[in-house]
Every structure is written in C-alpha cells, then in structure tokens.
Subunit: 191 residues, 2 copies
Amino acid sequence: MKQTTKKEKFFEESLKLIHEKGFKAVTMRDIAQRLDFEPANIYNYIDSKQALLELYLFDISYEFHDSLNNILKSSYSPEEKLKLIISTHIQLTAKKPYKMALLVNEWRNLKEPKLTEFTEGKKVYENKIRDVIAKGIEEGQFRSMDIEIATYSFLSSLRWIYDKYTGSESKINPFELEKQISDFIFTGMGK
Amino acid sequence: MKQTTKKEKFFEESLKLIHEKGFKAVTMRDIAQRLDFEPANIYNYIDSKQALLELYLFDISYEFHDSLNNILKSSYSPEEKLKLIISTHIQLTAKKPYKMALLVNEWRNLKEPKLTEFTEGKKVYENKIRDVIAKGIEEGQFRSMDIEIATYSFLSSLRWIYDKYTGSESKINPFELEKQISDFIFTGMGK
DNA sequence: GTCTATAATTCGATAGAC
DNA sequence: GTCTATCGAATTATAGAC
C-alpha cells in the first residue's frame, strides 16, 4: 500500500486548494485549515507561497517539454507526431490534472525572474508545435491554412482537458477522449 | 470627434490593467497611479473593486447571451447557426477584447451571490450551444461524435481569440480569422 | 472632484517555547 | 514538528478639508 506522509498530503491538498480558489485567493491560513494544523507549520514544508507555485508549475512544465522533445526526436511524420503529442498530452493531463490546471491558469502569478523563465519556455514549446504543423502543411499532410491560427487552435483543443479529470464526476477514458479530440482536430465536426 | 471623459478613461484603463495583471493582483493604487491621481478618487466612479469586476463581466456576458438568443430564434439550420455563432463571437471579441479576456480568466473572482448568478448563466449558454450541436448530429449535418466533447472543443476554439486583439501587434482581420476558425472547426487540419 | 490622512482588516512570514 | 503570539507590510475603503 502507498504510504501518504503528512508532507505528501500537504503538497496534494495545497495544489487542489490553489486550483479551486486561485493562487492569489488562497491564504496560508486556508491551507493550514484544510490540513487541520496551524499556519506556521506550513513553513516546515516550503519556504514561501511563491516557492509552492514555482514547484508545481516547473514540475509539470518539465514533463511536457520532455515528452515533446522525445516525440520531435523521432522519425515520425508531422501528422504522426501531432497524434503522439495529442496522446501524451491527454495521458499526462489525466495523470496530473490539477498541476495541468495550474499550468493553464496560474502561471501569471509567478514573479520575476521565474515568470520570464516560464514564458520563454512556453514560447519555445509553442514554436516547436508550430514547426511541426508548418512542416505538415509543407509536405501536404495537412491542408493549407494560416499556421499561427492552426497552432493556437491545436493547442486550445488540448488546453481544457484537465476539466474532465478534476471535478468529482466520473472520469472519461483517456483513450476514448484521445480518439474524440484527435478526430476533431484532424477532421473537424463536418461530415 | 469622440470625447473621452475622465470617467471613461477610468473604466478603460482599469479594464486593461485588470487584464494585464489579473484582478486580484491589481490594487486600487495601481489604478490610481496609471490615471495619475490619488486612490481615494476611484470611489468617485465606482463603489468597490468587486463592483468594477461585476460591471465588466455582466456587461459582456449579456451581449453574448443576447446575440446567441437571437441566432437561436432564427430558422437557420444547426450548421448555419454554428457559423453565425462563430461569426458574432469573433466580431464581439474583436470589438471588446479586454472584456472578453476577463470573461474567460477572471470570473472566478466574483463573490457570492454574483458568482452563482454568473456560473448559472455560463451553464445555460453552454447548454444552448450543446443543443445546437446535438440537433446537427441528429439531422446528419455533423458527423457522429461525443456531444459533450464536441461542445467543449467548439467553445475552446473560440475562447483564445481575445489574445489576437489585446497585445500591440497588428490586429488580424476578423473576417479572415472567421474563415480560418470556421474551417478548423468544420473540416479540421487534415486534407 | 481632488487631496491628505488614516481606519480597519488581512496576509505572509518569523520568533521562540515545548 | 507543533504550537502561541505577533511583527510588518499591504490593501480596501472612508472621513473630512479644500
């Protein structure tokens, strides 16, 4: 059986609280209350509120960059690469939905220099996706379209997915979700 | 010529500031500084910081509901209705990008009872879109697919667009954007 | 309407005993 | 590691003179 230490519980519950109320809205007192101890105890686990946010964001951010880089290093075609990106994105989101939610909604609350570090990484990530799409259009695997808008559309199709794995509702099968999203991105809603 | 009163300037600059830094992060001092007067003066124009957020959100929210309802009352087919929704959504976003950004990112900062009022309206809006999609699948205009995921995908394809009209870059032609987004939603990226 | 001054509260973080 | 107590800073909002 998996042991849940008090420290693990702290990071787990803090993450959920930040997702629920937003980073700025959550107070150290909120966190302490949820864990049923005093605010001062929080500083046994983390140096500051900012450090907590940085920890969550750069952890999940690293995983996304890492998995993207592995896909890009392969010899798959652009279309196959995009499908792999969709697949790993959904798998990762299903595994860590709360961190993914923070990645989407809370990165603005980082402070310099971490904020710049993060946004630079974000740009790099998006440009890599953009390059795959551009290559796919060039090679005739995708239809001709505005590359920038295609990139935004592609990314926005994946960005909301955490919502299916936070809430208390029954979680959708990631493989079924992958099929649905993949079909939407490649063939759209029309017949 | 259009007259810009100090009051108009206040609402305009406050809106941009809230978009840039986030509602919780913006202080009354920030707003006063941007407008080059003292924090106390803000209360000549608005009762509280919360009231400011409510004003922006319910203003743009009403416009979206109103235009959606007009489209739904028409005798157009589901596919034509979705195209009109895309069209009016982009037009409205191009006209009021900063309020649209708040609609997407800041509604969580509403307090009860306004928060519930807002989220109920959001649900109603999304369910109406969902019904159009369901009808379109039923009538065979759209391919068979998971209705809930289709609805999320459709909405997420429109949600990021404010980003093209805030920033300082050259604004994209709304009609061109409409064509690109519409093609993505109905035919996807594939050939 | 604009200012100075400040009330009232809240928050992140620390000190220090046990 | 957990507590009590509290500091120091920041914030919304108000009072009241001009």
